[in-house]
Amino acid sequence: MNEEKKKILEMLSGSKITVDEAQKLLGVIDTDGSEKTSSDIPQFLRIEVEPKCDKRGDRVKIKVPLKLLRAGMKLAALIPGACHDRIQSAMNKKGIDFDLNEFSSKNVDELIVALKDLEVFVDSEDEEEGHSETVKIYCE
């Protein structure tokens, strides 16, 4: 519990404020807290592949700035309409059901914020070759 919440509860127990006032103040503090976490936007997408127990195998560390995604979308928005249609049809042929025209910069921001919760951990073991490795994909 943080100091501000403690003070409010102390004021309430000392009958300096009413229950409604305390509720309002606590609500304000909670809103501030949630704003802080929402502004905590991830900066990098990290992909890590490491051998599990033994030292054999490849180690891969990739750190991709998420700004690249936003900048890429800005550039993609400048692609002429005719090219957009061709890209869209090529994507549809590959089975990617994704409409580029409906993807705006606001969507990218929402996607990046949502990526904060992304965590992929894969433990793999290849018994034939005797390799075992872990794959981690996350944002920070």
Binding site: A71, K74, P80
Partner: protein, 90 residues
């Protein structure tokens, strides 16, 4: 912020390379070249406006700048038993 340095490290049994590309030395020359080409770029821009693609042309430059800037912080580090490849943009 624009990337200032590209580091490419290749370390294997056959070859060993450690390249530091100081982009901060390169950018002034690129910006100077762009400044010198500015009349030509503007002329081309006017043609693009007449064709009806002016908006795309003038929005392309800041978008391109953003795209280059967004590479800052990229890191690719691959280590195998006998080789190391590391690319970092700072």
């Amino acid at each position: 912020m624009i990337p200032m340095l590209i580091r490419i490290k290749i370390d294997s049994t056959e070859k060993r390379k450690n390249l530091w590309l100081p982009l901060f030395l390169l950018w002034p020359f690129i910006f100077l070249a762009l400044l010198l080409c500015l009349p030509l770029i503007l002329f081309f821009g006017i043609i693009m406006i007449l064709v009806g693609k002016g908006m795309i042309f003038f929005r392309l430059w800041p978008a391109l700048y953003d795209f280059i800037c967004s590479f800052k912080g990229l890191l690719i580090d691959v280590k195998s038993e006998d080789s190391v490849v590391k690319i970092s943009i700072t």
